[in-house]
């Protein structure tokens, strides 16, 4: 492997409808958020270049309208993916039902793919004052009984607790995924 590298990777967002897939992308790529819900029609592809330890990765990010079951995800959407972000809505139990099975199915459908789970809309557990305060958001969430209970009810531990609204962990998540896609390549 070269000392520095510049590569392109396909990343797809998955999860039920209205969990915030499009919002996470638009936060990450355009630093924007809107409260309005417009379901994704057809397909949208975005791109952002990130830097990891001196390597550059062009993330080509695919977005479609959500599906409840992995079997409903069209094959052309998944093929050639190096990374998948599976988004759940922490305020709707139905979006993380059988999450463990779904992730397993995805890994079988796309061998070698890196999957991260994003527990989104975490901001909705906190009050305006809490969000405005200086305190660390994740710490506040960990002290929030309702949130902790929700987290405990998710069949598979999420990798990132996110909010497309406040930006919490959005950048971290994409960078983390880019990083693991790079390292899995070194191994392979």
């Amino acid at each position: 492997m070269d000392s520095t590298k510049w590569i392109s990777k396909k990343v797809a967002l998955l999860g039920s409808h209205a969990v915030g897939k499009t919002s996470l992308i638009s936060r990450f790529v355009y630093q924007k958020f809107s409260d309005k819900y417009l379901t994704t029609i057809g397909l949208k592809v975005d791109k952002k270049t990130v830097e990891i330890n001196g390597h550059r990765v062009d993330l080509v990010i695919w977005d479609i309208a959500g599906r409840d079951n992995t079997s409903e995800v069209p094959y052309y959407y998944l093929r050639g993916c190096s990374g998948i972000i599976y988004v759940i809505d922490t305020t709707r139990d139905s979006t993380f039902e059988k999450l463990d099975l779904k992730i397993k199915e995805l890994q079988e459908m796309v061998p070698g793919v890196e999957v991260v789970i994003a527990a989104n809309k975490a901001d909705l557990f906190l009050s305006e004052e809490e969000l405005d305060s200086e305190k660390d958001t994740v710490e506040l969430l960990m002290q929030n009984a309702e949130f902790v209970k929700t987290l405990g009810g998710i069949p598979l531990k999420p990798h990132y607790i996110t909010s497309a609204k406040t930006g919490l962990n959005v950048e971290n998540m994409f960078l983390g995924l880019a990083n693991s896609m790079l390292s899995s390549e070194k191994e392979g």
Binding site: T39, K47, G80
Partner: protein
């Protein structure tokens, strides 16, 4: 292309335009569907029964709805639409899959028919001096009148060439005559629409060979591990298509690309150079 490409506003607009145009039928159809779904949902409350009922029912009504849609529904629809999409999202999309692909092909066919219509109209315009000149030229040269008319009316221009990985839709190389949009995003979108149409047409074994938007046509040549998408403005004559096919085959001979390649900036650069070698003189030679 592997550059820090920050999209400018006009580029974003163009991209959004392309997206809307690619999915125009889908958006329109989705709107039509919602109205019917509301009615059907009342009749059929069992989901298993719901889907098989949907398709034949719609086929019949599509034409009617398309023709009468604005008058019938415009006012009452806007609000109901948003709510319905949110609620029956999956059902709508699943029901739409088999139909949308057909719609896209129909759209392309319709466009071709329109072109042919324009030519027929011109043909009927027998009194125009221009047309008499062409008729004489046709008689003298033996080139069919229709063909001459096409050549006369249409200027064809190669705008961009993309080399794209079949699997991932990642851009392998790109040559642009005037830098229209972000090539990485176009590559992804094209691969998506291609996959979408081919998926919808699985049974009919049809390939997506052209996509149209605005004054552009995208000609697609698919090979085993990658495909070449040429963006052309104007209407493609048989001559132009032949020339394009030749150049594409020539290009193929000069590259070796395997499946599951790592897509690096240096590969993209190498491929872009090759594309440039093969396609740069394209417009000059053709005209």
């Amino acid at each position: 292309m592997a550059t820090d490409h920050i999209l400018q506003e006009p580029e974003k607009q163009k991209l959004e335009q392309l997206r809307i145009l690619l999915f125009e039928e889908q958006i329109e159809l989705q709107e039509n569907m919602i109205v019917k779904i509301q009615a059907l949902e009342e009749e059929i409350s069992v989901p298993e029964k719901f889907e098989p009922h949907l398709e034949p029912h719609f086929e019949k009504h599509i034409e009617f709805l398309k023709a009468n849609f604005p008058e019938l529904f415009r006012n009452s629809l806007a609000k109901a639409l948003e709510e319905q999409i949110a609620e029956s999202n999956d059902t709508i999309i699943n029901a739409l899959y088999p139909i949308i692909g057909k719609m896209i092909t129909r759209y392309i066919k319709a466009e071709l028919e329109k072109l042919s219509q324009r030519i027929d109209d011109a043909q009927r315009d027998l009194f125009s001096i221009q047309n008499w000149k062409l008729r004489i030229k046709s008689f003298v040269t033996g080139i069919p009148y229709r063909e001459l008319l096409m050549r006369d009316n249409l200027v064809v221009n190669m705008e961009e060439v993309f080399l794209i990985d079949n699997e991932s839709g990642l851009l392998l190389g790109h040559h642009s005559f005037n830098n229209l949009m972000d090539p990485d995003m176009i590559a992804g979108m094209l691969t998506g629409i291609k996959g979408f149409v081919e998926h919808a047409f699985q049974q009919d074994a049809q390939d997506l060979e052209t996509v149209e938007y605005e004054k552009y046509k995208i000609v697609i040549n698919t090979f085993q591990n990658f495909y070449i998408a040429s963006v052309v403005s104007g209407t493609i004559s048989p001559d132009f298509k032949d020339h394009l096919d030749e150049e594409v085959l020539d290009f193929l001979k000069s590259v070796k690309l395997s499946s599951h390649m790592e897509v690096t900036a240096s590969l993209q650069q190498e491929m872009s150079e090759k594309l440039k070698e093969h396609f740069h003189g394209f417009n000059q030679v053709d005209q």
